[in-house]
Amino acid sequence: MNAPSKPNDYSAYPDAEGRFGDYGGRYVPETLMPLVHELDRAYAEAKADPAFHAELNGHLKHFVGRPNPLYFAERLTAHFGGPKIYFKREELNHTGAHKINNCMGQILLAKRMGRTRIIAETGAGQHGVATATVCARFGLPCVVYMGATDVERQKPNVFRMNLLGAEVRPVTSGAATLKDAMNEALRDWVTNVHDTYYLIGTAAGMHPYPAMVRDFQAVIGEETKRQVLEIEGRLPDAVVACVGGGSNAIGMFHPFLADEGVRLYGVEAAGHGLDTDKHAASLTGGRPGVLHGNKTYLLQDDDGQIQEAHSISAGLDYPGIGPEHAWLHDIGRASYLTCTDQEALDAFRLCAELEGIIPALESSHAIAKLGEVAKDVGKDGVVVLCLSGRGDKDIFTVADAVGRTI
């Protein structure tokens, strides 16, 4: 089969039907279709409204703490003995991860649409905490669906959400993890269509979510571009980010898509290894299908039943991936590497010890592949890594993995 040709205008995607090439779309029950169309129109209007952006930018500056730094990781650079490595410090945002960028955009849209109730799904709890945070800030009731298994292993984040006034509903259906939480949030939305806004946390799901979440996260890549030009006087040779659903990665990649000289690397979670059934690498180990409103790469069996993902990082523990990544993968504009649980744990400790930064286990997957990326770009290159979140939430998981009781 011929490789699909690369489009020369990436900003034209998705098309009006929400397609990135063959991926994306709006595969939802009829009850939701009118709402999905309404959301599409409302977002298009907001996107074209300077007042919306002015308000969003104000909150991003004063509440979230943007812009965050582009930081030269000097000792890691020396460690890999090659290109200059920079961190885009998303972990310094309020709530400790990139998730808040998207939540702030969507809560303003929900208010604009007159919605009075917010629902969300969460895996590790980072998106749940960010959603609960903006709901508290704007005085809207918030229900967060979370797999019962995740509620058990992420107790501190459940308590944080409760402190912020959100109700956390444990989901016991299926395997009781992120995909089941998303099913349950969709069931809530179908049932409460008249007043409820579904605040999806990643650049996946039915159109317009993949495009909208990408746009709200693109602040990562836009700031990076400005900052690297200021510091280095040129664009980076490569940018690297971890990929679960893929929102921090697409936010970093998107402003660089047309800069063909910038290599884009996404890192998927390989869990116990791609040769086992315990991983979360949808692009590398899955095939295209339809789930949660979009066509994309999925982990599935021969009958089209969705399989459980596994990663030590709850934020990457999802059997699908955003449709724009599926498309960038097929056309070859971005490269997708994989990283096992063990490699991520090693990178977690390396970063803590060499840079004084405890990274999220999600971001540690990207850090683990810096050596490989460094080889690709050569000694004189510049690499930017999206440090998507801080690792305080992960210390119990890491302690457990290294056999320490804390």
């Binding site: 939802v28 029950p29 009829e30 009118p34 179908v190 009958d303 089209g304 039943q305």
Partner: protein
């Protein structure tokens, strides 16, 4: 070949002046043999049409009863190929009762639309309802089904306004399924007063019979719906009988068929008691 079975059944019922009773069960629930025993018994118990669920791991519009039915079926090894085998076996003894498969898109994507449409028609499937495939995304599937002569049956809902209804009924045949509540299956109850005008609206837009489902649990409610609609669909209440039988260590088939008989009887009697309402059927 297969569309005709649905059309013939609705034409015959129209001549009788009554609505159809549609029974929904999940293929392979709780295991392939018991599921076949139930399926085989449905027409005798009074089901005029059969909706046969094909299981999916992530059924986003189902309430707990059908979610659990799908999980039981998958745990017992049911696959989409297995569902077609079940239909083929049913057709050995019943050539008339229409069978509509109902489920989610991904198992069909995985099977391949053209191969599925061909195999489904050959097995004796008459129609297909795909919950997460709105008209905007349906063309590739509709093309394959058209070639094979299998009806693509569309869902209309309380959120479907008149403009959208025109989109929804495009390329549809057999009947239209009106989802009587905004919600998942088997939780809210249908409001019979709101159903009548909605059914009339969908019937006018499509020129097809209208089946009503998603909120009918009791014979009384089924009778109310049968007075105004062309068919009443019951699913979760039947599937619950399977769960209850399993919990009580009883064989599920007799219990399910008993419920089907009670519901079917209520539907058959619905218009006999209120003769003028029968005129509603266009």
């Amino acid at each position: 070949m297969t569309k005709q079975r649905i059309d013939a059944r609705f034409a015959a019922l129209k001549a009788e002046g009554r609505a159809a009773f549609v029974a929904y069960v999940m293929a392979g629930d709780p295991d392939p043999d018991t599921a076949f025993e139930i399926l085989k018994g449905l027409p005798g118990a009074g089901a005029d049409l059969i909706e046969l669920g094909f299981p999916f791991s992530d059924p986003m519009a189902e309430g707990p009863p059908i979610q659990r039915a799908a999980q039981r079926a998958l745990a017992a090894g049911m696959t989409l190929r297995g569902v077609l085998a079940l239909v083929r076996r049913f057709r050995e003894t019943d050539g008339d009762t229409p069978i509509i498969l109902m489920g989610y898109l991904n198992p069909l994507v995985s099977y391949g639309f053209a191969a599925f449409a061909h195999d489904a028609a050959e097995a004796g499937v008459d129609g297909l309802i795909v919950v997460d495939c709105p008209p905007e995304e349906a063309d590739p599937l509709a093309d394959a089904l058209d070639t094979a002569g299998v009806s693509l049956i569309r869902l209309a809902t309380p959120t479907t306004d008149d403009d959208r209804l025109k989109v929804v009924v495009r390329r549809t045949s057999g009947f239209v399924y009106y989802v009587s509540v905004a919600g998942v299956t088997g939780v809210k109850e249908a409001d019979a007063d709101a159903v009548a005008p909605a059914v009339a609206r969908v019937r006018a837009a499509s020129g097809l019979p209208v089946a009503v489902g998603f909120g009918i649990k009791t014979p009384e409610r089924a009778a109310e719906v049968a007075r105004v609609a062309d068919a009443a669909v019951v699913g979760s209440a039947l599937v619950d009988q399977i769960a209850a039988s399993l919990a009580g260590n009883q064989p599920p088939a007799p219990k399910v068929l008993e419920s089907v008989a009670a519901l079917a009887k209520a539907v058959r009697m619905a218009r006999a008691n209120t003769a003028p309402a029968a005129g509603v059927q266009a």
